[in-house]
């Protein structure tokens, strides 16, 4: 369990105030989860990482002679090692992801964006290549996997620019994605997975391959589990024009039962294709999600 201060830093109530996803990711990863993630591989990569004291016996190639000339001290340069591992972030940005319940700190898409930003940062810190695919009824963002700080900024900008609109067309998005996935990839789906359980198992069969890890994070608003507290509402579908007048107290019990069945079904389907599944509520802190990410990421090393 994170300490109290760390818990505050992971709380979406507070994080929602930070507009800059880059800053948000550093706050979360560096501030609230030090040591949780694996140390960077230092070695023969191409990207400079930091200086450290030269240890006698090491190859003299690592000595930075310019620093020695200025400071009369032997300093070794370390480089970030490329892992040849790809983290692919797939974010559902359909209209339903724009929902925000009356007591929720943020909308579902915002929560998914914060989570994805932190994951992208974590992956970057571990030397992984990061890719982004954001979709609604059409592709909103498509950033090929790459590494480096500049690429991280592009990914974070891409995440920021996602807008919740249109109806979700999961099948089309997954068809596009599966054709470009490189080997040794980890695919992180962030979606509400509404109406998706029928085709999800079929489309994620690539997870059965040892070259892929799939993490499906379902983002829901608490009201989607318990319904609003109002006595009567005229529900209108965010991804359609249908409206239903109903009394939440009258249908709450059956609604929760149906919702649980749906989530159970979803979980079973994903388990059948070796995909990890976890449900997050928008009021929930980001720590659990990040730990699940790291756990799965470590399996892929």
């Amino acid at each position: 369990m994170p300490k109290a201060a760390e818990a505050d830093l992971l709380d979406p109530v507070h994080l929602n105030r930070i507009n800059d996803l880059s800053l948000l990711a550093r706050v979360v990863v560096d501030g609230a989860m030090p040591g949780l993630h694996r140390s960077l591989r230092q070695g023969g990569g191409s990207e400079f990482f930091q200086y450290r004291s030269y240890e006698p016996g090491e190859d003299v190639k690592v000595i930075d002679w310019k620093v020695f000339a200025k400071r009369d001290e032997l300093v070794a340069r370390t480089f970030q090692e490329d892992t040849n591992f790809t983290v692919f972030l797939v974010i559902d940005a359909s209209a339903s992801m724009g929902f925000q319940g009356q007591s929720s700190p943020c909308g579902k898409l915002r929560y998914a964006s914060m989570l994805a930003a932190c994951m992208a940062y974590l992956a970057h810190r571990q030397g992984d290549r990061v890719g982004l695919f954001g979709y609604g009824d059409e592709t909103q963002q498509w950033i090929r996997p790459a590494s480096g700080s500049g690429h991280l900024q592009r990914v974070l900008s891409g995440i920021s620019s996602l807008k919740a609109k249109g109806s979700s067309r999961h099948e089309r998005a997954w068809n596009q994605l599966s054709s470009v996935l490189p080997a040794r990839s980890m695919v992180v789906f962030l979606s509400d997975f509404l109406e998706a359980e029928g085709s999800l198992g079929e489309k994620l069969r690539f997870s059965l391959s040892p070259n892929y890890q799939t993490l499906c994070l379902q983002i829901l608003d608490p009201e989607e589990l318990h319904l609003p507290e109002d006595e009567a509402l005229r529900f209108s579908e965010m991804e359609g024009a249908r409206e239903v007048s109903s009394s939440p107290p009258a249908i709450r019990e059956k609604y929760q039962r149906d919702m649980n069945e749906f989530m159970e079904c979803l979980k079973n389907r994903l388990s059948a294709v070796s995909a990890e599944f976890e449900t997050f509520l928008t009021g929930q802190d980001l720590g659990l999600g990040l730990r699940r990410f790291l756990k799965l990421r470590n399996l892929g090393k």
């Binding site: 909308g107 009567a232 005229r234 965010m238 109903s246």
Partner: protein
Amino acid sequence: MIEFAQPAALWTGLAIGLPVLAHMAYRTITQKYPFPSLRFIHPSTIPRTGRKTPSDWVLLAARILLFASLTLLLADPYWKSERDADEGARESQTVVAVDLSPSMSGWGGLEEAGLTLRQLIDSEGGVDKVVGFGGEGISDLPKGDPEEGIGFEHGWKKGDAQVLLDGLDEVFDPGAKDKKLIIVSDFQASDWQSAYRDLGTCGVEYQLLRVGENLANDGRSQNQSIVEARAVPVGSDKIRVWVVVRNWVDGIAEAQLSLLAGGAEQAAKTLTLNPLGSAQTQFILDAGNFSKATVRLKDGDSYALDDERTLWLKAPPARNFGFWLANENEEDTREEFEYLRTAVLSSGDGAWNRWVSNQDLGDALRLGGTDAGLDLLFGLGVGPWFEGEGLPKILQTYLENGGVALLTPSEPVSASVSLLNQTDLMKFGFSKVEGGVSRDGEVFRMAALSESSLLGEVFSGKYSRDLYLTSFFRFACLKGLASNLKVPIEDRKGRPLAIVRDFDGGGRLVFLPFRISPRWTDLPVRNCFLPMLMELVGKGTRGRSLRAWPVLEAGEEWSGEKVFRAGKPGAYRFEDQWIEVIPSLAESSPLTLADAELSQCLGGPRKPSKAKVGEPVLGNESSDSLWLWFAIAVAILLIVEMIWSRPKFQATANGETANA
């Protein structure tokens, strides 16, 4: 204080409870709520809130006020001052209206009306007011002393029941609650057939009491009427009195007709009258022996007013004509003057129908005096002098007042044409004088008269031969005539030989495009000249009538310098006229309206609406109606209610707007 014309409508005030109930049983209005998926959302019954206390007190108050105002509006409120309230203290009022039309004098109508009224006064309810009505309007009548009997006198003017129905506002006191009108009348058809007012909606209960039915003597048909009587000259020493008698009985009848003159019966005749028909006869009297005569049905009948007719036997005054001349020494003018004066003087018979040359009247008119008495004016050689003396305006006034004038042109003719055009007396153009400078002995003749011509009826067959032989040596060619001008005669090429304009006031202006002299035409020496001249100037001549004297029905007026209003039948001297006044012929008809027809005239047999009793329709309080103010109040409250109860919008937490 506020009173209501429709107090029953106040029951709608119970509807005030509706908004209270609505607020108590407030039904939750479902608010629109965007939701990610409706997959597991099922419709359900929307529960009522079941609030036990009214919600939104301000809105409730607005709605209660709205219903209250609407209720008062439906009740038709009006403001009644204290003075009106005092005047209206009388709870009920019974008014008896007695028909005083001339027909009531026949068949015992007025006598029966008196007896009926006495019975009404003696009855338990009594009578508050008695009025008489007829052609003269409504008049208050004394209720009289029942011990002495009640007598009425009819008016002479034709009766008019509408006068009573329109005048009910003044008949009843404004504050009377229950208004009852008892109409005592013979309900003669001519008086009642066009009358209408819905007394029920006026809050007046009515009762019809029919009198003058003459049931004891076979009903009202026992009547014979002198429907026409005229005195016309026969030669120079005799007068013929021509009389038409109508029989209103559905059976053959005999009428004894006598002519009274000089205080004695001069002649008598017996006429046989067909059923519902008429017959005529005549009496011949020596002219000059009597100035006035009376024709009378000797036996009399149930309706006496039409049994006698008085006639004036003297000839009417001669008609006057005069001249406006530029220079009587000028040859054409002098000859025209002589031809026209002689012709007009010859046109009368010297006795009953006479023309007199009265140059004094002509001169007086020329100097701007009144045109009274001048029947015909000749303007000879109209030219610049005409405008120089300001005569066009005087002539215009004279014509608009019914005068008749004949104008001839001067030389050059263009001056006359220009004058008439500029003064708007006549609008036409002029091209040349045919047969003028280039006269080569050609003679112009008149074209055949069309059937629609002014002279077509006079000159037909062989009588028109002389007209068509008339020669015109010179005449002005007129063209471009205005639409208000008529062309009674034209030459064989269709060029006008006379143009006529009729004025709205009955006047007529005739313009001849030639001088009446042998150098222009041989018309003055033709036999057709006199009838053609008198036909051209005849129509519209004042006083020109088939009758010798004006004959007026009672109630009609004759305007001279003063106004004569006809009343009792007879012969009356008025200014320089004798006027014969005859009773209204319509009143002679024995026909009456049936009860069903009368009921329709008075808005049907229904009782007056109780809601309307006391309604200010018959009072003078319509201006105090508060209906408009309450209508405005209702409109304002309705707007307030709509604004107050409109759906309210507020931003939701996710930044979108939703119904709250």
